[in-house]
């Protein structure tokens, strides 16, 4: 249900852009107004969401410790799985954000005869996740060539590396192959692993199809259905210089691509995709496990009703005296 719904939704988006530009000639709407609205929604929505999280305090220091804590000098401290200092926390976060450290631990459990529970290493999710996210990042960076008059050297270098196989013309980008393979894998595992299929919501399929749609239209434009690429840069530069222009003859495929990208941007702040910001704010990962050494304040800590020793002694004084326990009041 979620799958079909999401697929239809993304196909509808494609048709809207196709009809809007190919049929109704709404180039300005799809090339200027919607992209502007999308980037504004994305930035404002993203910021507000993160500020919404920032408004909520972290009352307790509760890192999930995934290794040996700092202890005696003669016990080996697992610095990045159980950080003790801010520097080590930064290390843990970098490993988490850049290399998906936690997911790397993933195992697959099977119940075999015996009975015997067997745990196998299962790195596919980690690998596909990492491949997907990194190629997405590289692709985004590559696209910066459309947005700068002088394309930064870094962007050119990334592009050079991405195309270093020198296959075909225009050169085949490695990330184009990787992202489509990885997203396809992530989709297939969602459908065929029974537990994952069971937990999947429309909100899980929808972004997968959106991203797949973006990648496919992008690949089509680069390798198969030619578009007026200089015109696209003129349009992009028009957007970023706030002097929007809609050059002639760009090709409807570009507007479809742009429309799905805009949808993704607008959808982003209201969806699970906010894990991009959230991963940095997860208190089980971004805090040091040093509570015994360093105080952590709870901003809403309040006095609670307690049962004092005096009340306790009042209740048990006679019994305490009989047992020879010292008491405060005779």
């Amino acid at each position: 249900m979620g799958l079909g719904f999401s697929l239809v939704a993304v196909l509808t988006l494609v048709l809207i852009a196709l009809g809007g530009v190919g049929g109704a000639n709404l180039q300005y709407l799809f090339g200027v107004i919607i992209p502007y609205a999308a980037i504004a929604t994305f930035i404002v929505g993203f910021t507000l969401k993160v500020l919404g999280w920032a408004k909520v305090p972290v009352p307790f220091r509760i890192p999930t410790t995934s290794g040996q804590m700092k202890s005696f000098p003669w016990i080996n401290h697992d610095k990045f799985d159980n950080p003790d200092t801010t520097g080590q926390v930064v290390g843990r976060m970098l490993l988490e954000v850049l290399l998906f450290r936690s997911l790397f631990r993933n195992t697959k459990t099977e119940l075999r005869d015996g009975p015997r529970l067997a745990y196998g290493s299962d790195k596919w999710l980690w690998l596909a996740g990492l491949a997907f996210h990194w190629s997405f990042l590289v692709i985004v960076l590559r696209h910066l060539r459309f947005f700068f008059a002088d394309v930064p050297v870094l962007v050119q270098a990334i592009e050079g590396l991405d195309g270093f196989l020198q296959v075909g013309a225009p050169l085949l980008y490695i990330t184009d192959v990787v992202i489509i393979s990885a997203v396809t894998y992530l989709f297939i595992r969602r459908v065929i692993i029974p537990q994952v299929r069971y937990i999947s919501l429309p909100a899980d399929y929808f972004p997968l199809f959106l991203i797949l749609g973006i990648a496919i239209t992008g690949v089509l434009m680069r390798y198969f259905i030619r578009i007026h690429v200089v015109g696209i840069k003129e349009l992009a530069m028009g957007l970023v210089t706030l002097k929007p222009v809609v050059p002639e003859g760009i090709g409807v495929l570009f507007y479809i691509h742009m429309f799905i990208v805009s949808t993704l941007r607008m959808y982003f702040p209201f969806s699970k995709l906010m894990h991009m910001g959230g991963v940095f704010l997860s208190p089980t990962r971004n805090l040091a496990n040093n509570n015994r050494r360093q105080r952590h304040e709870n901003p809403w800590n309040y006095d609670v009703k307690v049962h004092t020793y005096e009340a306790y002694e009042d209740e048990f004084r006679e019994k305490m005296k009989e047992s020879g326990l010292p008491v405060e009041k005779e």
Binding site: D204, S282, M320
Partner: protein
């Protein structure tokens, strides 16, 4: 109880979820899988809302008319207080990495025991009430209405989670189901919907100082039994003190260790070791509970119970505190205590009076773990040990969820065990340290009416024990948790008969050689130590040299082991 036999229980596990989807599958509250509802007198005793007699198995839970409003408002309040909750509600991508990491899912196959779905129970309400998409798109956005059935479902599954945090280790965003369950249980508590096995101990602990409700004289007589046993088995007469002002150290351990085997043996271990060291320490009858079942009700209640530790340390004028072997106790101490009830400026940074080691890692909390204390003693050669006294044991170690994932206390206990036992084998790596499996009965679920559930949840741990039992002949499961000592005993009897359960300090005391001790042919359980009893008759006459005897035997026994 109608707990099925192990073979039957195994047969029923199917890890493949069956359609229709979880939102369309009504929850059936099954006997053997839930605990009795919180009793009116206990709720009343601790000032919790809606005290009444009720039975979760019945239709009417006797909730106030505005129950739904109370839950939603409670959720709103907590979304503003806990960043964990807010972020975890928003960012799960349902990648499924956590799905097969939960012992309850692996042991029951119930899809709602997958950590992600346990959180979705609450998340679906959050989306419906607090997000625009959820309000408009409803089910398509993964949102659903909070109905009485949904409320009962949350109750059922938040009391099928032991807050062990294993899923959280694997989650790419560190989403911690324990946090979801803790807050979920807070919401349930707003309507008096806890379980009797939790609120009973909480009420006891609040008024009497410990979960078991032992009054001062009962604590003392419990310990007196142990003192007698210790003297009988070792010839050593220990003399603990209670509520003694001016002692250097306050010792607090879970009350389970005062009451039931095999926890009592661990307690006897502390008594012996502290006595042997001549430690200037005292017990307290007021702060006589290390554990904190309040942690399984609400944050506030946990703080109210925890208050006693520092308050008593202050009243008695001790310098610092040693805490006994307990799992969730140490998560609470390590991650909450100072924030709740600190700073304890009236205490000093713990310094071992025996070794002089300064515990700077605890300089804020002023409380150290008994195993930490002992590891330091052993490292500094301050305990006279004869590990061969434990040669009849082949030991493995169960990391408690809380000390592993809420603290990272993993190598200290292993160091101690390896120093007092010659035969130690770890379980497979996916089942120990940060990946350790819960005993199946943590977070207040170790009642008897839910034995079916507990044995299911205990399967992954037991299965790993069985592996080392078959491979290495492991016959003793060591641990540093009072709930483990009780729960794993049942779980071993059920899944891996023949494996005993013991706290680490029981092993320590059994391996210790005491000043001027008599001939010791039995362990702290009063059981003959194989290899020690034979000489009893032969050397009766030579009892005066018995002190040296264990040493020689150690060499002999080690040689035998080595030749195997």
């Amino acid at each position: 109880m109608g707990t099925p036999k192990p073979e039957e229980l195994i047969q029923k596990i199917d890890l493949t979820p069956q359609w229709p989807g979880w939102m369309d599958t009504p929850t059936e509250i099954k006997p053997g899988n839930f605990c009795w509802g919180a009793k009116a007198k206990d709720l009343d005793g601790i000032g919790f809302p809606n005290p009444r007699e009720w039975n979760p198995g019945e239709e009417d839970w006797k909730l106030p008319e505005n129950w739904k409003e109370i839950v939603i408002e409670g959720l709103r309040e907590r979304l503003e207080k806990y960043r964990t909750l807010k972020v975890f509600m928003d960012i799960c991508v349902r990648c499924g990495a956590c799905a097969d990491k939960c012992h309850f899912f692996l042991g029951s196959g119930d899809p709602k025991n997958m950590p992600v779905l346990r959180a979705e129970l609450l998340r679906s309400i959050y989306r419906r009430e607090f997000t625009t998409a959820g309000k408009i798109l409803g089910k398509f956005a993964g949102a659903r209405e909070l109905t009485m059935d949904v409320f009962k479902e949350m109750w059922y599954y938040f009391f099928q989670c032991t807050e062990c945090r294993r899923c959280s280790v694997f989650c790419p965003f560190g989403i911690d189901t324990a946090e979801i369950t803790i807050i979920g249980r807070e919401l349930l508590n707003l309507l008096g919907c806890n379980i009797a096995w939790i609120t009973g101990p909480v009420n006891n602990c609040y008024h009497k100082g410990n979960h078991l409700g032992l009054e001062p004289h009962a604590i003392m007589s419990s310990l007196e039994y142990m003192i007698d046993d210790i003297e009988e088995y070792t010839g050593v007469k220990v003399e603990p003190t209670f509520n003694r002002k001016g002692a250097e150290i306050l010792f607090i351990t879970p009350s389970g260790d005062l009451f039931a085997d095999p926890g009592t043996f661990t307690c006897m271990g502390y008594l012996l070791m502290f006595h042997e060291l001549g430690l200037d320490y005292t017990w307290s009858t007021y702060a006589s509970e290390g554990g904190n079942f309040g942690f399984f009700t609400t944050n506030e209640m946990a703080k109210r119970l925890n208050y006693k530790m520092y308050a008593e340390a202050k009243r008695l004028g001790v310098k610092w505190i040693i805490g006994g072997e307990c799992g969730h106790m140490w998560r609470v101490l390590n991650q909450y205590m100072d924030t709740w009830n600190g700073p304890a400026d009236f205490l000093e940074v713990p310094v071992s009076p025996i070794t002089g080691t300064r515990f700077d890692n605890a300089k804020q909390l002023k409380m150290i773990h008994a195993v930490e204390f002992t590891a330091d003693l052993i490292k500094n050669n301050k305990l006279k040990l004869d590990p061969s006294r434990n040669d009849h044991l082949t030991v493995t170690y169960h990391d408690s969820c809380n000390t592993a994932r809420g603290m990272g206390f993993m190598d200290e206990p292993r160091y101690v065990i390896n120093s007092v036992c010659n035969n130690f084998f770890d379980m497979p790596e996916n089942t120990i340290r940060e990946q350790t499996f819960c005993c199946g009965s943590g977070s207040g679920l170790n009642a008897s009416e839910n034995m079916d559930l507990r044995m299911k949840g205990g399967l992954p741990r037991a299965n790993a024990v069985k592996y080392v039992n078959e491979k290495h002949g492991v016959n003793l499961l060591a641990n540093i948790c009072a709930i483990d000592r009780a729960a794993l005993t049942s779980s071993m009897d059920y899944w891996v008969p023949g494996v005993a359960v013991a706290g680490v300090h029981e092993l320590v005391a059994n391996a210790m050689v005491f000043k001027g001790q008599g001939k010791r042919t039995v362990d702290l359980r009063g059981e003959d130590i194989p290899g020690m009893e034979e000489e009893e008759e032969a050397e009766e006459a030579a009892e005066s040299i018995a002190v040296q005897e264990p040493q020689e035997e150690a060499a002999g026994a080690a040689g035998e082991e080595g030749s195997e």
